[in-house]
């Protein structure tokens, strides 16, 4: 008995003093962080799971604020992406239009009405009650007699007899019903030299073949129409009471928010079935040289004022007005984005404050509730730092678990939360114009409405959320942990 006692006693004597000094720098650190805190961590986890209901409530509350915290940047990022997408769209549209215009520098377009299928909606005009006008062969012969004309391509554009009514929904949420022709008939010249020289026929044949010189009573139709009617290559279709065979299906570009359904056939067939022999609705006049364009256009405009004439110059002008419109749109988008960002910053600050306050109060409550335990631990030789790190660890653990919950809630609710908290990015400064449709020639215009930006969580965002959780946990539990460390053990033991 005596032996053991002496041995024990020596631990506190000179021997242990030396040992203690040597290991002071390394040992202290190791003792506090590695050896001690594995136990502290286990205790923190056990403590946390002790009050299941309370833990759950705290986790849900914290989880929501964490979810908001990550949903807002996700929403901002989605809006930025949408804006960037828009810019790219604009740029590529402008570029492709530019190319198209440059390719057709010698083209003079003559139409009998201001709008046509290829200039967007509404199509298949004329409006009811208005006499439909055509260009006849006498006029064509007169124009053809001018100097400097290389080729003239005739088109006849007619509406189908059948009509459909369709419901259209605006991006703003409004819906309305319109009635329009089921499809548009495009009668085109099937002269082989014209077909090969200019882009008259649709380029994108997905089934069957394209039209060629000498075709009669056959047509090709846009895929949306063939889908609508359930027709395939080789099937028959009645147009104005005449039977046609579908020989090909083509893809048409989307124009406006409604797709154009169209059939292409020989202009003679189109003229015959619609009773418009010798009539055309559009002429594409190609000059020998760019320098001839103005003279020809001026002459046609002077002699035939009822015709709508567009030249290279006109198209350039409309392009530049479009560019202006685009850039205003983008400016609007960017300014709303900037507003959104500043609002988001404020919201995030509020949420961060709220989150750390929740942690602060929960931890303060925990410290109060466990005063006796803290006193006991101190009596057992836990240092102030041990106590402090114990409670810091608990705070961080709570907010980490909340972070996981937040990511779960956020990944499901990010689009909803961000749309709830951020203004809808409007590209038109609030005017609900329902988008505008730049229409020109046969280029593919983009639909520009208010882009819907769906917020989604990315990996960096999730990692950021965990970082924030650790930080907020530490921040929120700093003061309560400090309070715990400062508790006087003798008084804690009296505390009931």
């Amino acid at each position: 008995m005596g032996k053991r006692f002496t041995l024990t006693w020596d631990k506190f004597g000179s021997n242990s003093e030396k040992l203690f000094n040597r290991s002071r720098i390394f040992g202290q650190f190791k003792r506090i962080w590695i050896v001690k805190d594995v136990g502290a961590l286990r205790r923190a986890a056990k403590n946390f799971s002790r009050r299941k209901m309370r833990g759950l409530m705290v986790i849900i509350a914290l989880g929501f604020s964490m979810a908001i915290m990550i949903s807002i940047p996700a929403g901002i990022m989605a809006n930025q992406e949408a804006t960037q997408h828009l810019t790219e769209n604009f740029n590529s549209t402008i570029t492709s239009m530019q190319e198209e215009i440059n390719k057709t520098a010698t083209l003079i377009e003559c139409r009998t009405s201001g709008r046509s299928m290829s200039s967007g909606m509404p199509m298949g005009m004329p409006p009811f009650g208005q006499e439909e006008r055509f260009i006849n062969e006498t006029v064509i012969a007169d124009i053809a007699s001018m100097d400097g004309i290389k080729d003239i391509v005739r088109f006849l554009e007619q509406s189908s007899e059948e009509t459909t009514s369709e419901t259209i929904s605006e991006p703003g949420g409004r819906t309305f019903t319109i009635s329009r022709p089921l499809y548009t008939i495009m009668g085109v010249s099937l002269n082989s030299s014209l077909i090969s020289g200019y882009s008259i026929l649709p380029a994108n044949i997905t089934a069957g073949r394209n039209l060629c010189d000498g075709d009669s009573r056959v047509l090709i139709m846009s895929s949306n129409l063939s889908d609508y009617l359930g027709l395939q290559v080789g099937d028959k279709i009645e147009v104005y009471g005449e039977s046609f065979t579908v020989v090909g299906i083509c893809e048409v570009s989307r124009q406006g928010r409604m797709e154009t359904r169209v059939v292409y056939m020989s202009i003679f067939d189109a003229q015959t079935i619609t009773g418009n022999s010798g009539n055309v609705s559009r002429l594409d006049i190609y000059a020998e040289d760019v320098s001839d364009v103005d003279v020809i256009a001026d002459y046609i405009e002077a002699v035939y004022p009822e015709l709508y004439v567009t030249t290279y110059q006109d198209r350039l002008e409309s392009l530049s007005s479009m560019q202006t419109m685009y850039s205003t749109t983008l400016e609007n988008a960017e300014s709303t984005l900037a507003q959104t960002q500043s609002l988001a910053t404020q919201e995030i600050i509020v949420v961060i404050a709220a989150t750390s306050l929740i942690i602060l109060f929960v931890m303060l409550y925990t410290v109060r509730e466990r005063t006796r335990e803290i006193g006991t631990l101190k009596a057992l030789g836990f240092s102030n730092w041990n106590i402090m790190s114990q409670f810091m660890l608990e705070g961080i653990l709570i907010s980490l678990v909340a972070g996981v919950a937040g990511i779960a809630i956020g990944s499901l609710g990010a689009p909803f939360l961000s749309s709830l908290l951020l203004p809808h990015v409007s590209l038109f400064g609030g005017s609900s114009s329902g988008g505008f449709r730049p229409g020109f020639g046969s280029t593919n215009p983009v639909v520009i409405g208010s882009e819907t930006a769906a917020a989604t969580l990315s990996l960096p965002l999730v990692l950021l959320a965990f970082g924030a959780a650790v930080l907020l946990g530490a921040l929120g539990s700093l003061y309560p942990a400090w309070r715990a460390a400062k508790i006087k053990p003798a008084e804690a033991m009296r505390y009931e």
Partner: protein, 260 residues
């Protein structure tokens, strides 16, 4: 006289309650030797808990000196005091103060957590200590699954974890029925005999106090009286009532049948 482990000179503790001052200990002189089993008695408010807290470095005296193993503790800072509490003192409380979310073994391991012992060493020692207080097989049980007496045994095992020089027990039997009271005080007595552990125990119960070897009577923060207890005789493994030989495991004296 054997080596002193604890010595106070004119020890004073005054609480400041705003303007009013409460003197809990007033100029108390006390000497306790290594291996003693001392009981402190006294009326409520006489300063027993305060004295024990000061002796255990949980509270600082406002005057006088306190020598703990020849170290003047009254001059030390909180950081050093914490080390002394960890390494030299074992506390046993009236309300056990076990951590409810830890099992018996983990509770016993707690004081060793801040020491150099490895995890496996800590576990091994916790098992040994629990076996010593008669709780082998109950290592994984949480406090709420243990009876009051068993909880106090766990607390005693925990107090012994770092081989303290002195065990301070504030009314360790205060929350126990008479059966358990005697078992706990017998356990403390046996530890004192087998391990040589110095024990200072506060109690209201004179029957329990008489089981120690020296009883101090405290009144108004001073020691008023001192008397011998039965334990001194028991240390020689003799029955304090009839003087016949006894064994440590005996609950009653084999010849006079009195409770030991």
């Amino acid at each position: 006289m054997s080596e002193l482990i604890l010595k106070t000179e004119k020890l004073t503790k005054v609480y400041n309650m705003g303007k009013r001052k409460v003197t809990a200990i007033s100029g108390l002189d006390l000497q306790i030797s290594k291996g003693e089993f001392v009981a402190i008695m006294g009326p409520s408010g006489s300063g027993k808990t305060t004295l024990l807290n000061v002796l255990g470095c949980l509270d600082k005296p406002t005057g006088g000196t306190l020598l703990l193993d020849k170290v003047n503790v009254s001059e030390l800072h909180e950081k050093k005091l914490c080390e002394i509490r960890r390494n030299k003192i074992g506390f046993v409380f009236q309300t056990f103060n076990l951590l409810p979310y830890l099992n018996a073994k983990e509770n016993v391991e707690l004081p060793m957590e801040c020491t150099k012992r490895s995890k496996s060493e800590r576990e091994k020692r916790a098992r040994e200590l629990l076996a010593m207080v008669g709780l082998s097989g109950r290592e994984e049980h949480r406090p709420q699954k243990l009876s009051a007496g068993e909880q106090q045994r766990v607390a005693i095992a925990r107090a012994l974890a770092n081989d303290p020089a002195i065990v301070l027990a504030d009314e360790p039997t205060g929350n126990l029925d008479s059966q358990n009271k005697y078992e706990i005080v017998r356990l403390l007595g046996n530890l004192n005999i087998t391990k040589g552990t110095t024990i200072v125990m506060v109690t209201h119960d004179s029957q329990i106090a008489s089981q120690s070897e020296r009883v101090l009577l405290l009144s108004d923060g001073k020691i008023m009286k001192e008397k011998q207890g039965l334990h001194l005789v028991k240390k020689k493994l003799m029955c304090p009532y009839c003087g016949s030989r006894i064994q440590l495991s005996d609950v009653r004296c084999p010849s006079c049948r009195k409770r030991l």
